[in-house]
Symmetry: C2
Amino acid sequence: MTEQHFTISELAGEFGITTRAIRFYEEKGLINPRRAGQQRHYSASDRVRLKLILRGKRLGFTLDESRDLIEMYDPGHGNVEQLNLLLKKIDAREATLQRQLRDIAGMQRDLQEVRQRCQQALETQRKQSSKL
Amino acid sequence: MTEQHFTISELAGEFGITTRAIRFYEEKGLINPRRAGQQRHYSASDRVRLKLILRGKRLGFTLDESRDLIEMYDPGHGNVEQLNLLLKKIDAREATLQRQLRDIAGMQRDLQEVRQRCQQALETQRKQSSKL
DNA sequence: TTTTACGTTGACGTTAACGTCAACGTAAGT
DNA sequence: ACTTACGTTGACGTTAACGTCAACGTAAAA
């Protein structure tokens, strides 16, 4: 198997972002592609990292937060204190996710309510206009 | 019943934000408190608006997006086209909420996996140290 | 009356997350 | 050799969402 890789514009195209953005993520320490001379070569795992970044963005996370999250995924440098700290971080993340779930549920209820009022208003208009 | 209201610092205190932020939301057209002379007086519904803004923020919405959303909640100026457009907007929101739900689920799976690896690593260390 | 607490309106500063050039290298096609 | 396509590194510009003064008004408390 020949170590498959991607160019920067391939990834940019696939994810609908600019190459500038991708380089920016690298500046911020979120990705570290290999170099073939000057050019960047992105591995499959680099691509996954990009996915994670974008998922984070969709949930309103900052790049710093996403980097933290991504760093959790790799090996973990053994130390017991580090591991316990990592577990704490995980719990913290879980907590914010839970709150987001509640917020989404609330927003869905609100939208549903507006939707119904909206449909009723349309119903009313339909009846009114059929009276003419 | 005496129209109960809040001062700017009361709301700031309650929601853990600054008065500056609240005035900024007003500048951006998200709230419109009454005035008693110079001073702002926030009604219960102004307070609700603030809550909605903050919920939006927790989900990564911009202030402009939150204003759009909040504007959906009030009367709705009758027009049929407007109402249909509103329904479209609602559907669009719902779609992004659904994607967020998927993203959260994915992130929870990831976190769970890291948590387990982390706990296994701790287990291993425990056994190792008990060998001494 | 003077401090203290709270409010007001500018105006400028700041951070995040890029966009937008400029100026250049490289490799392939014609 | 020349263009075309793609890549690179700065450097500066921009927008959102406030923070941080400054300079001032007002009303109650000491």
